[in-house]
Subunit: 250 residues, 2 copies
DNA sequence: CGACCCCTTGATTAGCCTCAACAACCGTGG
DNA sequence: CCACGGTTGTTGAGGCTAATCAAGGGGTCG
């Protein structure tokens, strides 16, 4: 299934979750509830601001965004990219305040919903709760992968990992082509991988020279995806979620 | 509340969760269910092995452990330290296989329980589910902090952050004294912060020289905790959990 | 058309790693 | 109780990766 919300007008989140689970009618309806409103944001717009308190979450319906943290020394760490079907603003669920800012990389469409809706989900749909929890766990694992990547591998491997991750996630949301428009600047890629823009440039050039990727402007194509996966030790943590332990749907 | 399971014989997990929420009788009982068995492990023992499939989780009742990943190039990344009241093996919930290995740093006592017990929790105790979910979110945020630390700060700041985190977490579980026995080797600290043992040594010596910490063998005392927090930009993500959005207890 | 952003490239520097040697400590077995 | 081997901590010298500094070119948007 590669249902995309923006093709259906239906729920993007339901589209995403149905990759992992055949949703019941009632589950589907509960998820549709979350996307009754829409909000358009422009490329470059700050959607959420670190330290602000927030009573809402958002489903990404369209576009790319990323979360990042600003450090005391003026540098920035991009902690996660967000694609259609992702939830953003989740970090405010823990402490009530946002731990990360979110900006739109491209023009984007979001669906805001209140945290009370999530509470209702926990109350009425234990199986969906387990799935959402499992996706949070998968995200934690993917973050551990990146931690290992930044802590223990070369600049080249870090960039290879980021590219593998992006392409794998695009595949899941059904926009996966062999060639991809990459709206990130080299500075963005640096802030995601713990490198400087200058060094990102040299490394990407190196990957291109070695025939692992092909670049035409902002279009990127993975030629030696196998070799990229090998170099970065990429594991797709979102390909499959083990639902065998989930409770039965309500 | 600074209830510790190993002092009560009661549930360590309940002790931890009751920091954040006043548990109902029925919630308390559900959590006690999870710790009916005990397993002792020796210092250095491998408790869980990366890539293995696992049908269980564990509550830590006593001792220190850590999760780590092994990389293709022979290096190791420690992804998380585990103290009494923590859940371990969670990474297998997502894909069915463990993303991290776990070893015991000190002799430890664990309580294994099946994933079906967790499913029952999701079905019967939506408020606990929301809390456990929120703690997973907090853990993700803490991991993002470490990502930023490793990606964008100096060796000294990374070590300062690790120390702040350890002391803050010890405080929550009630073992927080000003002085602490640190059972980690400098190699462990290096694998947690993305540094070599040699460089960890130099940095810790530097922190000691500057009067931020005091070391006597494996005992460590934070003298200038304020300055350490300032240097590392530490934020305690587990001090408080916002339960205002949680559903009512069942 | 101009201003700005982004990419590119070169030269130099700095922070951390590697290698190496030795000292201190610990658990073990005799 | 002591002797021993292995692990951990400490220190120095030198090398390498990635950062920093600097400058120019191309593209895009107003």
């Amino acid at each position: 299934m590669s249902v995309q919300g923006d093709l259906l007008g239906g729920s993007c989140l339901a589209g995403r979750l149905s990759h992992y689970l055949a949703l019941t009618q009632s589950e589907q309806e509960a998820l549709d509830q979350l996307e009754q409103h829409e909000r358009n944001v422009k490329r470059g717009a700050v959607v959420l601001r670190e330290h602000d308190s927030s009573r809402e979450l958002f489903v990404v319906r369209k576009g790319w965004l990323y979360s990042f943290m600003l450090l005391g020394n003026g540098s920035r760490q991009i902690t996660r990219l967000h694609f259609p079907g992702d939830l953003i603003g989740v970090s405010s669920l823990a402490s009530g305040r946002l731990a990360e800012s979110v900006v739109a990389v491209t023009d984007a469409v979001l669906s805001p919903f209140g945290k009370d809706k999530l509470a209702a989900l926990f109350r009425l749909h234990p199986r969906l709760s387990a799935l959402i929890f499992s996706l949070a766990v998968a995200e934690r694992v993917a973050m551990a992968d990146r931690l290992a990547s930044i802590g223990r591998t070369s600049a080249r491997a870090r960039i290879a990992l980021l590219l593998c991750e992006i392409f794998a996630r695009m595949k899941i949301i059904g926009t996966g082509r062999e060639s991809l428009h990459l709206p990130l600047t080299q500075e963005d890629i640096g802030d995601a991988t713990g490198l400087t823009a200058v060094h990102v440039n040299r490394m990407m050039r190196g990957l291109a020279n070695d025939g692992l990727i092909e670049r035409r402007g902002s279009m990127v194509r993975l030629i030696g995806e196998d070799r990229l996966v090998a170099e970065s030790a990429f594991v797709d943590r979102f390909a499959r979620i083990d639902s065998s332990w989930f409770p039965d749907p309500a």
